[in-house]
């Protein structure tokens, strides 16, 4: 029997959609594969003790100490806004001490880790991508390799280790500042005393909440430097390429943080 060679009448928007989906899938797989290889390289460098503690400490200083002022401002504002809005909503319907519960739970579970991470995306992630991207386009990464040095051990691993260590410390700091600012704000705006605020905070407190918040911090502390290093090392095309890659990296990091943040409640709060 003779087979028909006529093509099926597929609408052009379907073809476009399918080819776009195919391209996006290929790019995603490419990034995933490269991230896997980078992660393996970092793990290998750590296991083989090829990461200099001096480099890690330097990165911890940049990520941690230098980020303290902006984290302080962000956490304070987050605590104040939560307290003000919570006070407004609870004042008519619930006991005032529940404001302590609301502020502490919001800051520890969500605002502390997520806002600190978003601040670090802008301050550290963009910086790492731009720095490594510039090193790529100016052949400094090639120079490392030509000199027999491993850029992953020298550049990537210290940043990732520093991120994992520093982020929980910054989140702890942000939690304390955010709760403190929320407590002061509650006192000034609703007249809620410290004892009542702390009573509300303790009322629904679980130690698990702290573990939950710090777990997020560790994961965010891994994701930010890992993605920013990965994007930086893939930079192409001169100064314009550095700008483009940095923008993409910030976008990917924020998207990744929000997706991971959304995955935490079903995994750890059930």
């Amino acid at each position: 029997m003779k087979r028909s060679t006529r093509a099926l009448p597929v609408p052009s928007f379907v073809v476009r959609w399918l080819s776009g989906f195919g391209r996006a899938s290929a790019v995603t797989l490419d990034h995933a594969g490269a991230l896997g290889i980078l992660s393996a390289g970092i793990a290998k460098a750590i296991v083989q003790r090829r990461v200099r503690s001096k480099d890690v400490l330097r990165q911890m200083y940049i990520m941690g100490v230098q980020s303290l002022p902006i984290v302080f401002v962000t956490a304070s504002l987050a605590g104040i806004v939560t307290s003000q809005q919570g006070g407004y909503q609870l004042s008519q319907t619930s006991p005032a001490y529940l404001l302590g519960t609301l502020v502490v739970q919001s800051v520890v579970l969500e605002l502390g880790p997520l806002l600190t991470a978003i601040v670090l995306v802008g301050r550290i992630g963009a910086r790492i991508t731009a720095e490594l991207g510039t090193m790529v386009v100016s052949e400094q990464i090639d120079a490392f390799e030509a000199l027999g040095r491993d850029p992953v051990a020298i550049l990537a691993a210290p940043r990732v280790i520093a991120g994992v260590i520093t982020m929980p410390i910054l989140v702890g700091f942000a939690d304390v500042i955010g709760i403190g600012a929320g407590m002061v704000s509650a006192n000034l705006s609703t007249g809620l005393g410290t004892e009542a605020f702390l009573y509300g905070a303790r009322l629904f407190w679980h130690s698990w909440d702290l573990f939950y918040g710090f777990s997020k911090a560790v994961v965010f502390g891994l994701i930010i430097p890992l993605v920013s290093v990965h994007m930086g090392l893939r930079t192409k095309g001169g100064a314009a390429g550095v700008g483009l890659t940095t923008t993409q990296a910030v976008m990917f990091m924020i998207l990744a943080l929000l997706i991971i943040d959304a995955m935490f409640p079903p995994l750890l709060l059930q």
Binding site: Q140, A143, A146, L147, G148, R149
Partner: protein
């Protein structure tokens, strides 16, 4: 000494298509060709900075791509690479940049004083004053000084082979002449094999024992400078004439 065998490399388009080239020990060899013909790509395949799609490179008898896990490391210890824009590490000062040229294991077992002596000597060899430049970071150096520091970093590891990627690009005529004299002197004094990728055709022809020309992904010419100048191949002739015209234009511009 360096043996490129059937090197193929394509990015979006084929760049190198079956390049076979041999550079003998102690030779100074220049590679010419129009922009975008893969000269720097070929140079980078020597140290696996760019991996060819097909083919192999041998350096001092060691196969880069089929020599086993340690081969690349051994090759990199034998080769010094001078990058087009020096590729100095921005965050390190001149001393630290040059010291990076000493292999890691040598650095680990050397006394600090020995390392300092080697770095000092390498900086002196490239006609810089060590006491003046050692503490400076790259951004504080002129273009010519950066190139020299890049050369010092390439020679401090006592390589057997030096690869030069456009060493005079972006330099004024005075610095170009100075760097060319330096290349010749280093190749003789250090008794290294030199492979030079350059746009400066006249300079390359004066300095080198043999030259080759890449065009359209193929090796168009390989021979002595005299053979290159008198080559009957119209594409070589056109390239030589164009290079001479550009050099004359440059000289006129600089004179004005």
């Amino acid at each position: 000494m360096i043996n490129y065998r059937n090197i193929h490399k394509a990015f979006d388009q084929p760049v190198l298509e079956g390049i076979d080239l041999r550079v003998d020990a102690g030779e100074m060899f220049a590679l010419f060709g129009p922009s975008g013909t893969g000269k720097s790509v070929l140079l980078k395949t020597t140290l696996s900075l760019i991996v060819p799609d097909r083919g192999d490179v041998e350096v001092d008898g060691i196969s880069v791509y089929h020599g086993g896990p340690d081969a690349l490391e051994r090759v990199r210890r034998r080769v010094g690479y001078v990058f087009q824009n020096a590729a100095l590490f921005d965050s390190l000062n001149v001393y630290e940049n040059v010291a990076m040229g000493i292999p890691e294991e040598e650095l680990a077992r050397s006394a600090k004083l020995d390392v300092a002596r080697r770095v000092w000597s390498a900086i002196e060899i490239v006609n810089l004053e060590p006491a003046e430049v050692m503490a400076k970071i790259p951004v504080e150096l002129s273009g010519g000084m950066r190139k020299r520091v890049g050369i010092a970093r390439a020679i401090v590891g006592r390589p057997k082979v030096l690869l030069w990627d456009e060493p005079t690009t972006g330099l004024d005529p005075v610095n170009t002449a100075a760097v060319e004299r330096l290349i010749t002197r280093l190749s003789e004094e250090l008794e290294v094999t030199s492979l030079l990728v350059t746009h400066d055709v006249e300079g390359g022809l004066m300095m080198c024992d043999r030259v080759a020309m890449l065009d359209g992904g193929h090796l168009l010419f390989c021979g002595t400078p005299d053979e290159f100048r008198t080559s009957p191949d119209p594409r070589v002739r056109a390239f030589v004439d164009r290079a001479a015209a550009e050099a004359a234009l440059d000289n006129g511009t600089n004179a004005a």
